[in-house]
């Protein structure tokens, strides 16, 4: 087994989902963004409401209390598990089986922030994350939730003009995927590197003058293009 941060969840439909839990660094930064946002809102509340005297300050305190405790809950439940900070870092909260976070789990994981915060500034939370494969803090463990990296497949699918070629031998699924990836990422690779990579396939490009172009052709064929 090669080292990776992911773990697999099998859905009832027999689909294996690869989930990628987020570690302390991105979560720390996401928390800082949220902290900054909350502080700004709290400051604005105090400034505007303090014009109403002591009563205003009291109301502001109540609102800040609610903001501190239920800001993450609101966003996790209404914004697909993403607070603004998590959205910035492409993270989201989910149950460990990747189903959407439930209201009770969200409340539990956010109320237990107090425990994770101990002794100071999330010391226990950090310890729990580092002792855990899925980087779960104590609140996550209690609520059975996990913070995951959101996979944004916004990659542009570059299309290389090449005559679709039927591969001379049958290829396994991972091999087909590698050839498709090769074609998709060819823009980020130098042409000499492309030739070098193509030559590694050995018998597949046998006696071809332009191995990379030949592979692009195979990729186009795999991608659905057919010889005219």
């Amino acid at each position: 087994m090669r080292l990776d941060t992911t773990y697999t969840v099998n859905t009832p439909e027999g689909i294996a989902l690869q989930l990628s839990p987020a570690g302390p660094l991105p979560r720390l930064l996401a928390w800082l963004v949220d902290l900054a946002l909350r502080s700004l809102i709290s400051l604005a509340l105090i400034i505007t409401l303090s014009f109403m005297g002591k009563m205003g300050v009291g109301v502001a305190m109540i609102l800040i209390f609610l903001l501190e405790w239920f800001y993450p809950v609101y966003f996790e439940l209404r914004q697909q598990g993403q607070t603004p900070g998590k959205k910035m870092l492409d993270l989201y909260v989910a149950q460990t089986d990747a189903s959407p976070v439930t209201p009770s789990a969200s409340i539990v994981r956010n109320l237990l922030r107090v425990v994770d915060f101990l002794p100071f500034l999330y010391g226990f939370g950090l310890a729990s994350m580092m002792l855990n494969r899925r980087f779960q803090r104590l609140g996550d463990l209690a609520a059975n939730t996990v913070v995951l990296h959101k996979n944004n497949h916004k990659r542009r699918h570059t299309h290389v003009e090449a005559e679709p070629v039927r591969p001379p031998m049958s290829l396994t699924l991972p091999e087909q995927q590698a050839i498709l990836l090769f074609a998709q990422r060819s823009q980020t690779l130098t042409s000499s590197r492309q030739e070098e990579l193509a030559c590694m396939t050995g018998p597949l490009i046998e006696a071809q003058a332009q191995p990379a172009r030949w592979l692009h052709g195979i990729a186009n064929w795999l991608g659905g293009g057919r010889t005219a």
Binding site: S20, L25, L32, P119, F120, G123, E175, L197
Partner: protein, 514 residues
């Protein structure tokens, strides 16, 4: 560098996933990284502590901070070998240190590149690619194109993590110390006027905790930066595709047999430490009295004498902030409390709302009292009570399918010559009683014998005897097609009344025959 021997799964990750991979690398390989690293860091700190005069020990953490590029080089040496599946012994690592000092641009790293925010990321170019001069700056520029901001954020994040560990350890000491003594020690480290001994302890705590936080976080920092570097190179050079293509080439070359590559990863099992609480000692609460009681005046003089002693006669000056212009403040408050009526209104409104909420809760609690009381009951997990089966042995045993007076009905059938139907009706009636009234956990899969055994444990011996006789008669006619003699069957019809009559005690306890 052989890409085949890399221990991590190579795929194109997002930069943050790459940083997490670095953390996982340390997590998984802690037992091979930490021994040498611990020895290096702590022996260095110890040497510094011994060499530096007491007045300047305050600056040891700064020195440790400044020497981080040195540590990074050793850690990267360990981690990069670990990544490519080479486990170095502590001796190997220490013997490599002198070479690392003069081949990795240490001097620049310690002086003018010390404050670089991407030093962890750049270190790989210095140390692993061994590039210098223009080649290095070009290379660095290329690698920075998409990774620089993340490299900087990893550095900043790790500084914050270090602070988290440092402050957490300090807070832990303060939390676990019931006296306020530790606070004095801790603060004395940063107070030039403190006593020498206090200051020494304070400094020692400071140095230890800072060293601990560096000890924990620095490997993570180097690993995360290294992993980001690998990810950037994967992106640039398509390592994942290279690996896949090589495998493809190999497979096609040896189509006959696929090489079986088994890589066993030894998983680190994190043991949760179990905390055992010591048994609480029973305290002796009885008052201890002297045998002779002194009169109050005498006791008072003794108390005074004791209170005069040195231990009790200490004076302590406590300084704290007090508000001077309390009166003014009150005056001021009055002066700008213009919307007082509004405040009172708001407060009353809130009060009324709270009372309404309380009343609503009380009403709701009354309405839902049953559910609420059920919550208070201790959870009793009953063995799942299946509904009694409707059909046993192909016979309908629902009460509604049977006549009211079963004994009379079956006697009539018997006298009419329908012997099979008569006994079947009687046996069905018995099963109905057992499943419906005695609530025996009869299942579809039970045989007549099973039911007899089950019943024997739950009903009185008298009833069990009757049931045995009925079962036997029924089995004879049903399976052996032999009609029992009328003389034998008559007592069964007569016994029905005795069978359905359940003694009161039995219905409560479930009947446990002695």
């Amino acid at each position: 560098m052989k890409l085949d021997s890399i221990t991590a799964h190579i795929r194109l990750r997002t930069p943050w996933e790459a940083a997490d991979l670095g953390f996982a690398l340390v997590q998984h390989n802690a037992r091979w990284i930490f021994p040498a690293w611990t020895l290096l860091l702590f022996s260095l700190v110890l040497i510094l502590w011994l060499l530096i005069p007491a007045d300047y020990r305050m600056y040891i953490p700064w020195l440790v901070w400044w020497l981080k590029p040195l540590f990074d080089r050793v850690l990267l040496h360990i981690l990069s070998h670990q990544m490519f599946d080479q486990r170095l012994s502590t001796a190997d690592i220490f013997s490599a240190i002198p070479r690392l000092f003069h081949t990795t641009g240490l001097l620049g790293g310690l002086i003018w590149r010390r404050l670089s925010f991407s030093r962890g990321f750049n270190l790989s170019i210095w140390q692993l690619e061994q590039l210098r001069g223009k080649a290095r700056s070009d290379r660095q520029h290329l690698l920075h194109v998409q990774a620089h901001s993340h490299a900087v954020w990893i550095t900043l994040g790790c500084i914050l993590l270090e602070l988290v560990v440092l402050f957490s350890l300090y807070a832990l000491i303060l939390l676990l110390d019931p006296t306020d003594g530790s606070w004095d020690y801790i603060s004395s480290a940063f107070d030039d006027m403190a006593e020498t001994e206090e200051r020494l302890w304070g400094t020692l705590i400071y140095v230890c905790l800072y060293t601990l936080s560096v000890w924990l976080i620095e490997p993570l920092y180097v690993a995360a930066s290294f992993s980001l570097y690998l990810n950037r190179r994967t992106q640039l050079e398509a390592w994942d595709i290279e690996l896949a293509f090589r495998n493809l080439g190999d497979r096609l070359r040896t189509l006959a047999q696929t090489p079986l590559a088994m890589v066993l990863a030894i998983l680190l099992i994190i043991t949760a430490s179990s905390l055992s609480t010591p048994p609480a000692l029973a305290e002796d609460t009885s008052e201890s009295l002297a045998e002779t009681r002194l009169p109050p005046e005498e006791a008072q003089t003794q108390i005074d004498a004791i209170m005069q002693r040195e231990e009790f006669a200490q004076m302590r000056t406590v300084t704290r902030w007090e508000r001077i212009n309390k009166e003014d403040e009150l005056e001021k408050n009055k002066s700008y409390s213009i919307p007082e009526a509004l405040q009172v209104l708001f407060a009353n409104l809130l009060k009324i709302m709270l009372w309404v909420a309380v009343i609503v809760m009380v009403v709701l609690a009354f309405v839902y009292r049953r559910q609420l009381l059920a919550l208070l009951k201790p959870l009793q997990r009953k063995p799942e009570q299946k509904p009694a089966p409707d059909i046993l042995f192909g016979m309908d045993i629902r009460p509604e399918s049977l006549p009211d007076d079963i004994a009379a009905a079956s006697r009539r059938l018997w006298e009419a010559g329908q012997q099979r139907e008569a006994l079947s009706l009687l046996y069905r009636g018995a099963l109905m009683r057992l499943t419906r009234h005695d609530r025996l956990p009869v299942q579809d899969s039970h045989t007549e014998g099973d039911i007899l055994q089950l019943a024997a444990m739950h009903i009185t011996p008298h009833r069990a005897t009757w049931l045995r006789a009925v079962t036997r008669a029924w089995q004879e006619i049903a399976y052996a097609h032999r009609s029992p003699a009328t003389a034998l069957v008559e007592p069964l019809f007569d016994g029905w009344a005795g069978f359905i009559h359940v003694p009161p005690a039995e219905s409560v306890t479930g009947g446990n025959p002695a």
